[in-house]
Amino acid sequence: MTLLAEQLLNGLQYGVTLFLLAAGLTLVFGIMGLINLAHGSLYMVGAFVAARTQAGSGSFLMAVGAGMAVAAFVGMLMEVTILRRLYFRDHLDQVLATFGLILFFNEAMAMLFGRQPMMAAIPDFLSGSVTFIPGVPYPIYRLAIIAVGAAVAAILYGLIVHTRIGMLVRAGATHRDMVRALGVRIGVLYTLVFGLGALLAGLAGAMVGPLLSVQVGMGDRILISTFVVIVIGGLGSIRGALAGAMLVGMVDTLARAYLPALLKLVMAASDADGFGAGLSSMASMMLMAVVLIIRPRGLFPGHG
């Protein structure tokens, strides 16, 4: 039981990380109609910049700030120079051009920071653990990630539903040409939305630094999970991204925790470990297949 409670919290924490990425990806898709494979690269950039800043300055908050700022800057630069030209091209061109960007970013990070994985330290004020469920001490740092994710979700909700910018974003998603006809400078809006998505990806990258090793290619793996999230949730829907992220976070974490042990009941221990790991990597994709059989457009079909 205590293990289960801990795993559920881990699932929540992973789900929150996925949500930070999925929110940006799904916003960009819903509003600009762009499918951006390089979103995972922004996450990687955020993680590298944060890890290096923390190693240099010793300040975790400064590291997170730097990671977010650089990711947002790189994202907006990418939007203005390249991605903007892709909005009206078909999805195939978008996939291939952003695939090229992934190759570029992976190699650029390898040249700048080396291929050795970097580990960031958990900051002092977030180290240690608390026991708020009896018998389950849980790391404060992971709780902090969950809290940040919840806060981001709340802020995004407020931003999109209750502000003028949010109204434009919603209008841009459904009636792009009409918004432009009303005199809104939609180009600026697009760059801002893209910057916001990049900022969140950078935040996710900066926060996972102390939990995972920061290395080249880390963005690719999570990108595919993020795709699974937004397909489950429904393309273009932030609510769907939240629901999908939580589902995938839970399923993936629980599968990783329990599948190898379950497999050991039916096969040799040495095989079960490897096979269990592979099977748990596939669990979220199987979930996606099931969701698609029942609801081909995802749980919360967007309007895009």
Binding site: I35, V95, E107, F275
Partner: protein
């Protein structure tokens, strides 16, 4: 008229060049050229199959490497069991003969494509791209996790599949085998896209609802062509396994799927011969850049972006002067 002649000239001279490649390699004392040429032919087989999906049906599959790798693993696993006389799942004996292993690779890849296609084709557009990617990635994790067949490290085997009258150690002979397979696949696909089936596919690409209105169930045609493309990729994978006498999860990696898409788009979407040029360009560019710097991807990435942004017709369009 002039265009048609020009197209034939380009195809004829390319075919001549590929036929003469081993002689040229011999003359220039560059034996590596034969291996490069074989690699081009193999990738081209898979890319031509993918063009049936992307160019003729409008299905942007991002999971082509899944079927490619699966075909390779069928050959690898059969060779593995043949080597120690054990049985696959306790039933199927190993095999080293090409006439068993290659059709098996085609069949298994086709079955996988049938299953994956049946699920993926419920969606369209971007969801389809992401789902095919996710399914291929599932196959990737599957093979990473099976330690019996090498897991991460891959699975090597000692010799190529036996073909009648052909010495399996002869690299030049194997090159011609791959070239012959490419020619067969091209010819078959060429006939296919001009058949009734192919016309229906083009109709689906333009407007599936209209096809439904005239009484054609687009879903069945899409599933059929998806399965066919998977089978062709499986054949290419079987050849690839034979080329390297080694299979690894890298064959199924999602970047490989991306590479196949690039070959199709770079060569010319919906042209069938275009992807052959696309495959050649990718293989040659990669081998040239790797000689030049270990950080070749820092060049390759921007080249890709530039090609996508600046060109519309692909290499074949430029060579053959198609509109």
């Amino acid at each position: 008229m002039v265009e048609a002649i020009r197209r034939r000239l380009v195809i004829a001279s390319t075919a001549l060049l590929m036929l003469a490649l081993p002689l040229v390699a011999d003359r220039l004392a560059m034996p590596d050229l034969v291996a490069l040429g074989t690699q081009v032919a193999i990738y081209a087989v898979a890319a031509v199959g993918l063009d049936l999906l992307i160019g003729y049906t409008g299905l942007s599959s991002f999971g082509h490497a899944g079927f490619f790798g699966l075909g390779g693993y069928v050959v690898g696993i059969l060779a593995f069991h043949a080597a120690d006389g054990s049985l696959f799942l306790g039933v199927v004996p190993g095999a080293t003969a090409a006439w068993i292993a290659w059709p098996a690779a085609i069949l298994i890849s086709a079955l996988a494509a049938l299953a994956i296609g049946a699920l993926s084709l419920r969606t369209s557009g971007v969801s389809f791209i992401m789902i095919t990617l996710a399914f291929a990635q599932m196959l990737f994790y599957l093979f990473v996790s099976i330690k019996t067949y090498g897991g991460d490290d891959g699975l090597g085997f000692r010799r190529r599949n036996a073909l009648p009258w052909i010495n399996p150690r002869d690299d030049v002979a194997f090159y011609y085998v791959c070239l012959a397979v490419l020619a067969l696949v091209l010819a078959a696909c060429h006939r296919l896209v001009r058949s009734r089936f192919g016309i229906v596919l083009l109709g689906i690409k333009q407007n599936e609802r209209r096809m439904a209105a005239i009484g054609l169930d687009g879903g069945r045609y899409k599933l059929a062509v998806f399965t066919l493309a998977g089978a062709i990729a499986g054949l290419a994978g079987a050849l690839q396994a034979n080329l390297l006498r080694f299979v690894s999860p890298d064959m199924l990696h999602w970047t490989m799927s991306g590479d196949f898409m690039v070959m199709v788009v770079l060569g010319g979407v919906g042209t069938l011969v275009g992807p052959v040029f696309g495959a050649a360009a990718m293989v040659l560019l990669q081998s040239w850049l790797t000689q030049w710097t270990e950080h070749w991807m820092i060049v390759m990435g921007p080249v890709l972006v530039a090609v996508i942004l600046l060109t519309r017709r692909g290499i074949w369009g430029a060579l053959a002067g198609r509109r």
